[in-house]
Symmetry: C2
Subunit: 415 residues, 2 copies
C-alpha cells in the first residue's frame, strides 16, 4: 500500500503529459479568444460552502466528500468548480466596476465515488463561468464555446442535450408537478427514490436504477411549468443554438445533479463513452448567489471532464524531440562536454548528457531511447583535434565539427 | 465563514494569473532544455508514504499534515513533491530501460502551519528530480538549473548555501557527533530540542528558537564525518559550482528538515524574503529508495516555492489585450453583431460582446474597462449602410468599414 497511488487516483506520466499540456494550452487559447480569464481557487473549501450551494441532499454532499478535520474546522476537497468560484467572486468583489465577469478554470476535483471506467476519485475539469448577467445570449455563448472547445480538441460525434428548469419559482412548480406524477409510480421506484420523493424530488431523475429510469424517461410535461419569461428565454437559446448548427436534442428529464441550477441546463454526451456518457455539462445558476449572499446575480457556466475528453479525442501529442545528447569518454572530454552542454542549453537548444559510467554502446542506446536527434561524441581523439564527432541518429551518418561550431550547427540543423 | 477562503489559502485572481501562467511556461521551457519531463502525481497519498519517507519525527509529519479519513484509509494532502514522485517512479517502473529519469513538477502542496508572511497552508512548488544515478555531475546540473531558472524568472541577489551530509553511514556518524556536542549545551536548549536530542538530533538544527540557533550556529565539524568518497564527491560539486560562477557559501548547519536527504544538500536564500529566507532547496536522497523499496537508486532534486519566487521577481505580466469589443443597438444589430462575434473569434482574434441592456455610454465604459483595442459599433444606421463604425480606443478616432471587412481589418490592425 505504501507504494500504491490511492485508489481511484492516477499518476500522469511523462509519456502522456504532452497531451495534457496541449489540452490545457489549447483550452486557454480558446478562452482567451472569448475573453474569459483564468482563476484558481484553493483545492479545499469550508464544508458549509458545498452544503449550501450544491445542496444537502445531493449525492455529492451526502456520500462523496473527502473531508479534512483540522481543529474546529471542516474542509472538503472541492468536488466541482462553480461553488468555489462563486465564493471567490463574492469574497474578492470581482463584480466591481464591470457588469459581466467571465472566468475559466482548469484543475483537479475530488469525489469519493466507487472508481469505475470514466470515474476517478481525483479527476480534472476544464470549466467556465459567466457571472453578472441573465442574458440568453450568454447561455448561447457558453454552448458555443463548449462546441468550439470540443472541435479544437479534435472531438466530433458529440451531441448537446438541452432543457430548461425555469427560474426559481418555475423550478418549485416543476418539483411539485414531478412529485405529483411520480407518486403514482411510487411502488415501482427503488428504496432510495421513495425517500427522494420527499427529500429532493429532482434527484429521482439522476437515479441509475433501471426501473426508475424507465419511469422517468417516460415523463412528459411539455415545459408547462415555465413562466412566460423563461419560455421566451428558452426559445431564444434554442434559436441561437439552431443558428450555429450545433447538434442537440431537448430532453425534459435533464435536471443536473446539483441544486444550484435553474433556467437553461445542458449536457454534452458522446456515444463512445458508454454508461458514463457525459463529456461535460453546464447551465444557468442565477439562484446560487441569492443562496450564498442574498444578492441577485445572473450566472451560467459549464465544465468538461478532461479524462473523458481524452478518451474520445484523437489528439495524442508526443514530447518535443531532444535535439542533442553529449557522450564523452575520459576526464578531459567530460569537462569539455559539460561546458558545451551548458552552452547549448543556454542557446535555447535542448540537450542532455550521459552521466553514467558505461560502455559507448550502452550510452548510444540511452541516446536512442531518449530520441535524441544528434549525438555529440567527445573522446581522446576529439580532444586532440579540438573537434567533436556529430552522429545523425536518424540518418546514421556522422561528421566532424570544431568545438566552437557545435551550437551553430545544432541551431541550423533543428530549424 | 461560508464566504471565506480557508485560512492560509488564497484565490489566484485574474489580475495576477498571467504572472503565474508565465512562470509556468518559462519553467517548462527551461526544464525542456535540460530534458526533464513533467509528471503529475495525485493531490493526496497514503499517510504511510510520508511517514516513511519524510521521517516520523519531522515537523511536517508530526504537526503539519492535512489528514483525510476515508473508511479504513488515511490519506494526506501532499506536503511536498519528492516522496510522491519516488512512489510514482517505483510503482510505474519509470526506471525501465533507462539509467536516468529526469522529472519535474509544478503544483500545489499543503502544510497545516500557522499562516504568516511567506508561509501559506496551500502553496505551490516548482521542482525537479533526477533519479537513477549518484554522479556528482547531476548534483551540479541540479544546482545549475536552479540558477538558470532563477535568472529566467528575472531573479537576482540570491545565494546558494551548500553542505554535505555524506552517505547514509556518514550521516549516522554526523548524528552521533552532533549529539555528543549538543549534549554539552543541553541545559541551554529549548524543551523541544532536549527531546530532539534523542528522537532525531538533526531536527535541532531546524529549531527557530534564538538560544538554540546561537548554539548550533557556532558548531564546527570541518566535515570530519565524511568518508573519502563523499569528501571527493562534495569537492567535485563545489568545483563545478565554482566554474559556473554561482554565488554560494558552505554552511555545516544546513541539513534540511526532511529525513530522506543524504549527500550534498543546498538551499537558495534571498535577502528580501525576511525571516523565511529560502526561495528553494534541494539535495541528494540516495537512501530514500532503499527505505521505500530496498533498492539502491541514486537520486537528487530540488524545489522552489512559487509564491516566494514571485515575491522577489520583478516579472509582472499583464493579460493579453482584448482585440475587439462589439456594441450593438437594436434587435437586428444584435443578431448581426453576434454572427460577427463568432466570425472574429473563429479567425483567432479575441473579441467580446456587450450582453447587457444599458446606455451606449455605459457600454463604452465597459469596453474601456476591459481594455479593448477596437470597439465595433452597430446601430440602426450601420445596419442600413451595411457598415460598422470602428472606434480606436487608444487613439480616440473612428472609421467606417463594410461588414465583410471587419475580420480582415482586425487581423491587420493587431499584427
Amino acid at each position: 500500500m505504501l507504494l500504491q497511488v490511492p485508489r481511484g487516483t492516477k499518476d500522469i506520466l511523462p509519456q502522456e503529459i504532452t497531451t495534457w499540456q496541449e489540452f490545457e494550452v489549447k483550452s486557454r487559447q480558446v478562452f482567451c479568444l472569448y475573453n474569459y480569464f483564468e482563476i484558481r481557487t484553493p483545492i479545499f473549501e469550508n464544508i458549509a460552502l458545498f452544503k449550501r450551494s450544491l445542496g444537502d441532499s445531493t449525492d455529492i454532499v451526502q456520500k462523496q466528500m473527502f473531508v479534512i478535520k483540522q481543529g474546529k474546522d471542516k474542509f472538503v476537497l472541492r468536488p466541482e468548480g462553480t461553488a468555489s468560484i462563486a465564493r471567490a467572486y463574492l469574497e474578492n468583489n470581482l463584480g466591481f466596476g464591470t457588469k459581466l465577469r467571465k472566468l475559466f478554470y482548469i484543475g483537479p476535483m475530488f469525489r469519493a465515488e466507487r472508481p469505475q471506467k470514466g470515474r476517478l476519485r481525483q479527476f480534472h475539469h476544464i470549466g467556465a463561468e459567466a457571472i453578472g448577467l441573465s442574458s440568453h445570449n450568454l447561455d448561447i455563448e457558453l454552448i458555443e464555446i463548449s462546441d468550439y472547445l470540443l472541435q479544437t480538441l479534435g472531438i466530433s460525434k458529440y451531441k448537446f442535450i438541452i432543457n430548461s428548469l425555469g427560474c426559481h419559482n418555475d423550478k418549485l412548480k416543476f418539483g411539485i408537478l414531478l412529485k405529483k406524477t411520480l407518486l403514482k409510480h411510487k411502488k415501482n421506484l427503488c428504496g432510495e427514490c421513495k425517500l427522494r420523493l420527499s427529500r429532493n424530488v429532482f434527484r429521482v431523475l439522476d437515479c441509475k436504477n433501471e426501473e426508475c429510469r424507465k419511469i422517468t424517461n417516460a415523463l412528459k410535461f411539455d415545459h408547462s411549468y415555465l413562466c412566460d419569461d423563461c419560455k421566451t428565454h428558452f426559445d431564444k437559446v434554442l434559436e441561437g443554438v439552431n443558428k450555429f448548427n450545433i447538434d442537440y436534442e431537448v430532453r425534459e428529464q435533464l435536471v443536473r445533479g446539483l441544486d444550484y441550477y435553474s433556467g437553461v441546463v445542458f449536457e454534452i454526451i458522446h456515444p463512445e463513452l458508454g454508461a458514463q456518457d457525459a463529456l461535460g455539462a453546464g447551465g444557468r445558476y442565477d439562484h446560487l448567489f441569492k443562496e450564498l449572499s442574498n444578492k441577485e446575480i445572473g450566472a451560467a457556466g459549464f465544465a468538461f471532464g478532461m479524462e473523458r475528453l481524452m478518451l474520445v479525442s484523437p489528439m495524442k501529442s508526443s514530447p518535443k524531440q531532444l535535439s542533442g545528447y553529449i557522450i564523452t569518454l575520459g576526464r578531459e572530454a567530460t569537462d569539455r562536454g559539460l561546458d558545451m552542454l551548458r552552452e547549448i542549453r543556454r542557446a535555447g537548444i535542448s540537450c542532455d548528457f550521459n552521466y553514467s559510467d558505461s560502455s559507448l554502446k550502452s550510452k548510444l542506446k540511452e541516446a536512442n531511447k531518449l530520441g535524441a536527434r544528434f549525438v555529440i561524441l567527445i573522446g581522446e581523439d576529439e580532444i586532440n583535434k579540438k573537434r567533436v564527432t556529430i552522429r545523425y541518429m536518424e540518418e546514421s551518418k556522422q561528421e566532424e565539427i570544431e568545438f566552437e561550431g557545435v551550437v551553430n550547427f545544432l541551431k541550423e540543423a533543428i530549424n
